[in-house]
């Protein structure tokens, strides 16, 4: 079975009908309004194992990330949470010697299945990294356009989508006057939102965020968190975080990992107030990790 990108992202009305000119508040403008409440696809992990050579980094995780919800992954350093998330867009296999075993479903499509195109997977499952990593040789505009140009988007459509993505990432008001300047000239928080805009531009359905705020100050962190809440209307979001307050603020549900295993997964409120596993309780109350 060959992997088809989701219908929702591809067969939308012509993009010239976007309300691009409408003055809207920074965060709620753009993609969020245009396709409010669009159902993204869910992600399901079935007995996922991941290895780096002989090292067993993720050990048999079963987990579902419901569509249009924010799921936080918490756990101490080295517990395999980043590795697990990198299996969802098959970035894990880019590390020499790394491999993943098990099933990862995007709705009912097996992303590790035969005939599944890794490029199509990564277009449907976008990723934001720990450290802001805009392309240093590209302008603000080109950074956002980088993924779109791969699919041959050109001209006014390209400009529209760049503008939309920047608006959806809450960055348009700050950068619309300097789109031609280098992306690395922005502040750290702006760079991270630029990276989010770059990810949104290719219209994924799932967004993986690997500790997106760990290199940012509290103000920039707050902006990203507001953005995550906003984006969940349109996307399924997985956030890896070291910061338990952050998980409590942004996530609908939270999963706790330890030593490569999933210890517990549940609604965020319950995970922090009444966890079922003593190890979760110890971790969320700061007894270790």
């Amino acid at each position: 079975m060959s992997f088809q990108p989701a219908k929702t992202g591809m067969t939308d009305p012509p993009r010239t009908t976007h309300p691009t000119a409408a003055p809207t508040p920074a965060v709620s403008s753009g993609l969020g309004d245009r396709r409010a409440q669009t159902r993204a696809r869910s992600v399901t992990l079935r007995n996922l194992h991941a290895y780096y050579g002989d090292q067993h980094a993720v050990n048999g995780v079963w987990l579902e990330f419901p569509a249009n919800e924010v799921t936080a992954i918490i756990g101490p350093s080295g517990c395999g949470k980043s590795t697990m998330v990198r299996c969802i867009n098959r970035m894990h296999e880019e590390v020499p010697g790394a491999r993943a075993v098990g099933t990862v479903l995007l709705d009912d499509l097996d992303i590790y299945g035969d005939g599944t195109d890794v490029v199509a997977v990564r277009r449907a499952v976008g990723m934001v990294f720990q450290k802001p990593n805009p392309f240093p040789t590209m302008s603000v505009f080109d950074n956002v356009a980088a993924g779109l140009r791969l699919t041959g988007t050109r001209g006014s459509e390209l400009r529209d989508r760049v503008e939309h993505s920047l608006k959806a990432a809450g960055l348009w008001d700050e950068v619309h006057g300097r789109l031609a300047q280098p992306g690395i000239g922005l502040s750290g928080g702006q760079q991270q939102r630029l990276c989010i805009a770059r990810t949104l531009a290719v219209e994924p359905e799932v967004i993986l965020m690997d500790e997106p705020c760990s290199a940012l100050d509290p103000v920039a962190t707050l902006k990203i968190e507001e953005l995550v809440a906003e984006l969940s209307r349109r996307y399924t979001i997985v956030v890896v975080t070291h910061n338990m307050q952050q998980a409590a603020r942004v996530a609908d549900s939270t999963a706790f990992m330890l030593n490569g295993e999933l210890v517990e997964h549940g609604p965020t409120g319950r995970m922090f107030t009444n966890p079922g596993d003593p190890r979760t309780e110890q971790y969320v109350t700061g007894k270790f990790g």
Binding site: P96, N133, F135, T137, A146, G147, L150, P182, C195, V202
Partner: protein, 287 residues
């Protein structure tokens, strides 16, 4: 005096001593550089004149010895062809090593042989081409393109090694960012890795070009030394290092002066090339 002040004074003293030593070392390293440039300009400028650049060596024992036009044009042609071979090949090998081969057995072997090639004396490359191509039956004889090949062999490991370093310095996070956008690897290389590494690549290429332009040994028995200007790379071709080599051993002061003039010309050519390439790579980085 308090103990604190005592420590401070000793530290200040050792700091001063260390700084002085570094300044002296830097000064010593600069002495030969400055002397060479000074002598080159002093001796070389005297030989320069409009006809110096526009006439070929006359070969007359008496009268006007002629200029170095054939040597300048020959060097440009030979080095240009050598660069056209060695730069794409060298960057290609480096791309393979960094992006695909990584730490595999084959890549490790290639890396080792590239290192060995870096240490091969330049005359060995000339000799190799001499034996395989100049002495060959059928298409034997001296030719500019054979000189280019010898120089390309010399440039290849320099370009490869420096390009490999430049490509390795491109942060892995940028490759990941591009891959995560759904870019295939060749596209990641073309759109992200190469542009990001460009300044480093240019530096390495310039090193190789400058080195090749100044080499005499690989050219002596491949392109040889002739008087006439030619655009035909299949014919024997003059070059600046070969011309200098030939002139400096002559008994006539005018020919030795021509060697100084030619040496200064070579240095200026490389300086101009370096400056231009740096300007271009800096501009493209911002754009």
């Amino acid at each position: 005096m308090t103990p604190l002040a005592g420590i401070g004074a000793r530290r200040r003293r050792s700091d001063r001593v260390a700084r002085t030593m570094l300044a002296v070392a830097t000064g010593l390293a600069l002495v030969p550089l400055v002397l060479i440039l000074f002598y080159l300009v002093k001796q070389g400028l005297g030989a320069w004149s409009p006809s110096f650049f526009t006439t070929d060596p006359s070969g007359r024992f008496l009268g006007d010895p002629g200029g170095i036009r054939s040597a300048i044009l020959g060097t440009i042609e030979i080095v240009a062809l050598a660069s056209a071979i060695a730069i794409p090949a060298g960057i290609g090998v480096a791309l393979y090593l960094v992006e695909y081969g990584r730490d595999g057995r084959f890549a490790t072997a290639v890396r080792y042989f590239v290192d060995v090639m870096t240490g091969v004396p330049s005359i060995a490359f000339g000799l190799f081409i001499y034996i395989t191509l100049v002495l060959a039956t059928g298409f034997g004889g001296f030719a500019g393109w054979k000189g280019s090949l010898a120089l390309a062999l010399l440039m290849l490991p320099i370009v490869t090694r420096s390009a490999e370093v430049a490509l390795t310095l491109v942060p892995e996070s940028l490759r990941e960012a591009a891959l995560a956008l759904g870019a295939p690897r060749w596209r990641v290389v073309a759109r992200v890795v190469l542009p990001t590494a460009l300044p480093g690549l240019v530096t390495g290429v310039l090193l190789a070009v400058a080195r090749a332009a100044g080499e005499t040994a690989p050219l002596l028995f491949t392109a040889t030394i002739v008087k006439e200007t030619t655009a035909n790379l299949a014919a024997p071709m003059n070059s600046l290092p070969a011309q200098i080599f030939s002139d400096v051993g002559q008994a006539q002061d005018r020919l030795v002066a021509r060697a100084w003039g030619a040496a200064l010309t070579l240095v200026v050519m490389i300086l101009v090339l370096t400056t231009l390439a740096r300007l271009v790579s800096r501009r493209s980085r911002i754009a």
